[in-house]
């Protein structure tokens, strides 16, 4: 995650000629959050006008805590990740709660407009057994999308676009392409409206 944060900052520093709209998906949101905490973030994010945060895991996810637990099913999941050659470091990065890397304040500069998109599913909306299991495991924390605690999402700054019936992966029926296009069009109009004089 730290390395990804550096890559984001380096890329932004190398592309500072034009305004930038950042878009991140799920764990990518954590990478952007960490990039905003880098020492040269102020310079790197100078030309970022907006950030579209699609289901971003900005505070970590309790599912990472569960996957690191001693629960036999979690153990099997870890074995699966290991056999696939995936390290478990990403789970520690995405831990939820005190002492975890993402348990820090989001340092969003004043000039960046943040648009968060998140699913608000009922149990009956969840289309797969895995989604239902994840949702159930987080029930003790309140409304969730199977990965994010929705009260955390509601505390994020600026704008929130809630999608009724969608899970963390925006299933079962969200047209993500159309959604992102709509958000980009909105941002285009919104930012031009403020940066360019209107007749």
């Amino acid at each position: 995650m730290k390395q990804n944060a550096r890559i984001i900052c380096d890329w932004l520093l190398a592309h500072h000629e034009q305004p930038v709209i950042l878009a991140s998906l799920s764990k990518g949101g954590a990478d952007v959050k960490m990039a905003l905490a880098e020492p040269n973030a102020a310079e790197a994010f100078k030309n970022v006008a907006a950030w579209i945060n699609l289901c971003g895991i900005l505070n970590g996810t309790p599912m990472a805590e569960w996957l690191l637990s001693r629960n036999p099913a979690a153990l099997l999941n870890r074995l699966y990740y290991t056999l696939r050659g995936q390290g478990l470091g990403f789970l520690r990065d995405l831990g939820y709660g005190p002492g975890r890397p993402l348990n820090c304040e989001l340092q969003l500069p004043q000039h960046i407009l943040m648009v968060t998109i998140a699913g608000f599913p009922l149990h009956e909306h969840l289309s797969s057994a895995l989604a239902r299991r994840c949702h159930r495991r987080l029930t003790h924390l309140g409304p969730n999308d199977g990965s994010l605690v929705l009260s955390d999402v509601c505390a994020l700054p600026d704008l929130l676009y809630p999608i009724w019936g969608a899970d963390h992966y925006l299933r079962p029926k969200t047209d993500v392409n159309q959604l992102v296009l709509s958000v980009l069009q909105y941002l285009d109009e919104e930012l031009q409206w403020h940066l360019c004089p209107q007749p």
Binding site: Q110, H111, I112, L113, V115, F120, P121, L122, H123, E124, H135, T139, L141, G142, P143, V149, L150, S151, D152, C154, A155, L156, P157, D158, L159, L160, Y161, P162, I163, W164, L179, S182, V183, Q185, Y186, E189, E190, L191, Q192, W193, H194, L195, C196, P197, Q198
Partner: protein, 98 residues
């Protein structure tokens, strides 16, 4: 052009706290809590409510979704808009440059 988010309206608005939502989840079930939180987001004041929005914005899709500004960050949002306006005022427009 009115770029002010209506502060009085936003100050009155409070989304249910995490504790309150968890309490509802315990009492009435997770789906009831999710429904209530979602409804609270929909009912919260949108930025369009406080000022003129771009004329052809399609962001408000025909589904049951809407933009909202959380009460606690309304000031931050207003500051951003002021910042953008200040930039517009201080830097020449492309037409002025040519």
């Amino acid at each position: 052009m009115n770029t002010q988010v209506t502060p009085a309206l936003l100050e009155r608005w409070v989304l249910p706290t995490a504790g309150k939502i968890q309490e509802i989840a315990t009492r009435e079930g997770i789906d009831a809590a999710t429904t209530q939180l979602y409804q609270s987001v929909l009912d919260s004041p949108s930025r369009e409510g406080g000022r003129q929005k771009p004329p052809s914005s399609s962001f408000l899709a025909p589904s049951t979704v809407r933009i909202r500004v959380p009460e606690r960050t309304a000031a931050s949002c207003a500051n951003k808009l002021s910042d953008l306006d200040a930039r517009r005022g201080s830097s020449p427009s492309p037409a002025e440059e040519h």
